[in-house]
């Protein structure tokens, strides 16, 4: 398979490993949920391509076919998607995670299991279920912007509801829990406080932005079958950086910074505002699976130029600055 396989890590004086809720990542780049995280073989391939951690596609109690296509499109400054949380269901994901863990353990690359549900109650059930596969971390997706009427509003839009979901998940697992937040709220720090008070061990931010809407002006129809979709990629980066900054100033748990990260520069930006790790999704489209290794190399170059030996030496540096 492609060049990106099992190249030995380029040796370097600087240490870019990170520790996320007690879990070690060989490097801070994490495959974000919903991108390539459907099967263990591909997750293993992404890890060999250089990812420091992999997150599974969010899974639910029952299988979901998701929305018809188009579900994912490139509109230039970013991607837009309304996949509809398609997934094979928690039973299947348990098997995929088991298989992934087996192959990734030797590489020292942790597996993050992303879960979601349609009710607060079911979040607990899925969490208990997925824990059987012993993922290194559980990520709770309460922030998908592509909501059917059934859901009414994102769980992540309301601090009380977000807290309840977190509590329910924590009651059902001993595995450290990351809660994934949405940028589509007026005060993300408030939601962050709520989930941390409810017991979240860490936070992942941001989920995709919006929703947004793009029309095909010839047919007068939305280009996505679902109509609206979540915006991701470079176009969203300044919003993501601000959200991560707000969250890191508001709470004291590790944050996985996601949103438009495409280059080493972008990962540095996230770490400077306080991120512990960086999620990468859309950039897999822009730079291929090699993006993980490239971002790490660019990050190392930066650290060498600035004489940093480890990430903690500059993590949060910008958060300190008054503004």
């Amino acid at each position: 398979m492609k060049p990106e396989t099992a190249k030995p890590e380029t040796p370097s004086a600087v240490d870019i490993s990170a520790t996320l809720c007690g879990v070690r990542l060989p490097n801070p780049t994490v495959l974000t949920s919903g991108v390539l995280g459907l099967s263990h073989e591909i997750m293993v391939r992404v890890a060999r391509a250089g990812a420091g951690g992999v997150t599974t596609k969010s899974c639910s109690l029952k299988p979901r076919p998701g929305y018809p296509n188009p579900t994912i499109l490139d509109w230039g400054p970013g991607l837009i998607n309304a996949v509809g949380l398609s997934n094979p269901g928690v039973e299947v994901m348990v098997e995929e995670i088991r298989a992934a863990k087996e192959e990734l353990a030797p590489l020292g690359v942790p597996v993050i299991a992303s879960i979601f549900a349609e009710t607060i109650y079911d979040f607990g059930t899925v969490a208990r279920f997925i824990s059987e596969a012993q993922p290194d971390l559980i990520e709770v997706n309460i922030s998908c912007p592509n909501i059917d009427d059934r859901y009414r509003q994102m769980f992540a839009a309301n601090p009380y509801v977000a807290g309840q979901v977190t509590r329910r998940v924590k009651q059902n697992t001993d595995i450290p829990v990351l809660v994934k937040l949405s940028p589509n709220v007026t005060d993300v720090a408030q939601i962050a406080r709520a989930v941390v008070e409810a017991g979240a061990d860490g936070i992942t931010a941001i989920n995709s932005l919006g929703p947004g809407l793009i029309l095909d002006i010839e047919t007068c129809r939305p280009v996505l079958a679902h109509g609206t979709g979540g915006v991701s990629g470079p176009a969203t980066r300044p919003i993501a950086v601000r959200c991560v900054r707000d969250i890191c100033q508001a709470v004291d748990v590790p944050v996985v910074a996601v949103g438009g990260v495409t280059t080493g520069r972008d990962s540095v930006e996230m770490i400077l505002v306080g991120a512990t790790a960086v999620g990468i999704g859309s950039a897999v489209y822009y730079r291929g699976m090699a993006v993980f290794r490239q971002v790490c190399e660019e990050l190392r170059d930066y650290m060498e130029r600035h004489g940093y030996g480890a990430l903690k030496e500059f993590r949060g540096r910008a958060a300190a600055i008054r503004f």
């Binding site: 398979m1 492609k2 919903g34 991108v35 390539l36 995280g37 459907l38 099967s39 073989e41 591909i42 293993v44 391939r45 596609k57 299988p63 979901r64 076919p65 998701g66 018809p68 296509n69 188009p70 579900t71 994912i72 499109l73 490139d74 509109w75 230039g76 991607l79 996949v83 398609s86 997934n87 094979p88 269901g89 299947v92 793009i214 095909d216 010839e218 047919t219 129809r221 280009v223 079958a225 999704g281 859309s282 897999v284 489209y285 291929g288």
Partner: protein, 261 residues
Amino acid sequence: MTLPHTVRIREIRDETRTIRTFVLDAEVPEAEPGQFIMLWLPGVDEKPMSVACPTPLTLTVARVGPFTTALCERRVGDQVGWRGPYGRGFSLHKDQLALLVSGGCGVGPLYFLATQAVTRGIPTTVALGARTALDLPYVEQFRALGVDLILATDDGSLGYKGPVTDAILQSAICNSQSAIYACGPEPMLVAVHRLCRERAIPGQLSLERYMKCGFGICGQCAMDGYLVCQDGPVFDVEQLDGLRDFGRAQRSATGRRLPIR
């Protein structure tokens, strides 16, 4: 930017009772044989279709279910969207005779490949398989190209009686002086794969898996460690050795692995 381009259907041709060719008001000169586009029927769905001709963009479609049925209800002048081309196509071995093996709607990309082989002066044989004589597509077009033809039907109503993969065994060129390029139902591809490995024939097979993004990020098209939309749809036979899913399993829209019928 890969938003779908909305264009009108310029021409529609019936190839067989179930296979129909659509010529669109679009040009994709950069497309290679074996590459595909994502075809969008607004309000219905968007699914992968191989390029049967790049200029004008031409698709040859078999009616098999809801999407292809909706497509077959479209008339000349109706609007459809497309984006692409995507994936890895066929690459002709210039020193080998070309043996193209087609089952069902696999004929589209192989016709495109045949035109390329002929222009490059590569001696070309095309083997077409179908249920009955009435289901054999593109026979006239291939004749017009001047390639050698091997026909096979399950009921023997035309050409060899039996699977096309058996028919080619008889052919004089089914040896390591040739290269095989195949597209069709996966069981047929499995047979071609076996044949290529037994006789040390270089081979390239075009596979199908359920696709959503078409450009390597959703993971829906995963087959073992491959992304069919990006690493494929055309694979060298070597790449398919010992895969768990080749010929056995494909994913549904949910991502669940289902046995191949």
